[in-house]
């Protein structure tokens, strides 16, 4: 096999963020925000809204990129 198999048995090491209402609300809001951005970028709300949402999306993404990530790979 040319392209070896990733460590699938390392499941136990994967992050298991505890479920909480706050987390669930965050996921729902993020999904809705994603849907709004997707449709806005597709021009559903018109060209000016598409341009605005593109600029806003890239700006927000850039701010998030600046957020440092912890060095660990597996928690």
């Amino acid at each position: 096999m040319l392209f070896g198999r990733p460590d699938l048995l390392g499941e136990a090491q994967m992050s298991a963020a505890s479920f909480s209402v706050r987390h669930a609300i965050g996921v729902v809001l993020a999904t809705l925000l994603g849907l709004v951005f997707f449709n806005a970028l597709l021009g559903v709300f018109g060209l000016p809204a598409a341009i605005t949402s593109l600029v806003l999306f890239i700006f927000l993404a850039f701010l998030i990129f600046l957020r440092p990530q912890p060095d660990r790979t597996q928690s």
């Binding site: 963020a17 597709l42 021009g43 559903v44 018109g46 593109l54 993404a61 928690s75």
Partner: protein, 470 residues
């Protein structure tokens, strides 16, 4: 069995161009990525960037080589399979392809050697300049090819005299109505392809628990580029959709899978159709209500035009166009989902530790290639029955070559290209398995091209007269 030269010529061109497009797409994407990485290395002097650069430069070089070889074949195929097209459209198409060689290939050829072999021979700034020139060359190359292909989609600036194309306005031939939208669409596709490729390989290292610093950096950078490029692509894709709806309505009618002159209001969005071209209807449709109006007309009750608006003899085959377009679009949706989730995970500081996401990234490694090929299938099959829209039918563009000859060359291409792809995949997988080598934390040469050449001359002299001066 009677062999149809038209079908065989089309299959042959489709096969070779499908194979070819993988490599320029990768080259354009990786060249831009390498340019940014080397720029970051120059700015920060962080050795990880140099490690990333050296690793991806190897894969870029292989892809670049295969891309050049497979691209040359396409020019010959104009003569082999589409001689009448070359005869009629040569005056408009030929100069674009010639200018690609003059402007892009010369630029790439001039600087590729420095980029690939000059890391230890020239100074870092000159090397960075060479990388920039190679990246620019790939994009100029794409510009000319897109100009030529866009002219075939939306011809302009010409007159037909004695059955041949005569250019009346060069600017309008090059700057035809669809070029300036199709070009960014293709370049963004290449950037996205490169980004997902890079991020997928990085994610695989993280899942395997090796080369973790390299893996984290490539996942982060790959997803960063992908996030910006995917958002831009959705925007540009919608602009292109509107442009093609205006210039090539039958293509977009087929792409959306509607037959009736006007769809229901509000229109559903078709995800799966089984079209029956003979009876001009769908045998099966899987659709989401209202979404068609929303996405395609940008209103809640808009109607979508169907393929019956186009006379039967001018209709493209719906199945090909529909599935080409929908494969591209569904992959784009998946990509947007991935980049959106990556932003969420960055906020949560779990980007490198969420294994299901890393696995999804590995699965998405070839996504850009799939979307690009599907997009080109949409563009090319949707233009049928025309090879030059509204001017020359594909059936009238075929070379007077017997079907048997066409079939034998097709078989030869399949065999040779199979060898190419096998060799490329073996070496690429080997390089990926081996992983990045440790890179030095400083430039290995600090001088000008003059110094590099002087070193080269001294090396040659030393080789020619061993023992002298030692």
């Amino acid at each position: 069995m009677k062999l149809d030269p038209e079908v065989l010529a089309r299959v042959q061109f489709a096969f070779t161009v499908t194979f070819h497009i993988i490599f320029p797409t990768m080259s354009i994407g990786l060249a831009a990525f390498l340019m940014v990485i080397e720029g970051l290395w120059l700015k920060t002097k962080d050795p990880v960037y140099l490690e990333i650069y050296r690793f991806w430069m190897g894969i870029f070089a292989m892809g670049f080589g295969v891309g050049v070889v497979t691209g040359i074949v396409l020019s010959f195929e104009f003569g082999l399979g589409f001689a009448k097209f070359a005869q009629i459209a040569g005056p408009a198409i030929g100069p674009s392809i010639g200018l690609e060689v003059l402007t892009a290939f010369f630029l790439e050829a001039g600087f590729l050697g420095i980029m690939l072999f000059g890391l230890k021979r020239v100074g870092p700034k000159l090397h960075f300049f060479a990388t920039c020139m190679v990246a620019l060359g790939t994009q100029i190359s794409a510009s000319w090819i897109l100009s030529a292909n866009s002219w075939m989609q939306t011809p302009d600036g010409i007159a037909i005299e004695n059955g041949r194309v005569v250019v009346t306005n060069w600017v309008r031939v090059i700057h035809n109505p669809s070029w300036l939208v199709r070009l960014p669409h293709m370049l963004l596709a290449a950037f996205i392809t490169g980004s997902f490729f890079v991020a997928g390989v990085g994610a695989w290292y993280l899942l395997c628990g090796k080369h973790e610093i390299f893996g984290r950096r490539t996942v982060s950078l790959g997803l960063g580029f992908a996030t910006v490029a995917v958002a831009c692509q959705l925007f540009v894709g919608d602009l292109l959709y509107g442009r093609m709806l205006h210039y090539q309505p039958s293509k977009m009618q087929a792409a959306e899978g509607f037959w009736e002159e006007n769809s229901a209001s509000p229109a559903p969005y078709n995800w799966i159709v089984i079209p029956d071209q003979t009876n001009q209807r769908n045998r099966f449709t899987l659709a989401t209500p209202v979404l068609g109006s929303l996405w395609l007309t940008h209103s809640l009750r808009g109607q979508v035009a169907g393929l019956k608006n186009t006379p039967r003899d001018l209709q493209p085959t719906m199945g090909m166009v529909f599935y080409g377009f929908h494969t591209m679009f569904i992959v784009a949706i998946l990509m947007f989902f991935i980049v959106a989730v990556s932003l969420w995970l960055r906020v949560q500081k779990r980007l490198f530790s969420t294994r299901w996401f890393l696995r999804a990234l590995v699965i998405m490694t070839p996504a850009g290639f799939i979307a690009t090929i599907a997009g080109w299938y949409t563009a090319e099959t949707g233009r049928q029955p025309w090879v030059i829209w509204g001017i020359l039918r594909t059936a009238d563009a075929i070379s007077p070559v017997p079907g048997g000859a066409m079939l034998s060359t097709l078989i030869a291409f399949v065999v040779i290209y199979a060898l190419f792809i096998t060799a490329f995949l073996i070496f690429a997988f080997r390089m990926i398995r081996r992983g990045p080598e440790d890179a030095p934390n400083h430039a290995e040469a600090s001088g000008s091209l003059v110094n590099a050449l002087r070193t080269q001359v001294m090396d040659h002299a030393a080789a020619a007269h061993p023992g002298e001066g030692r």
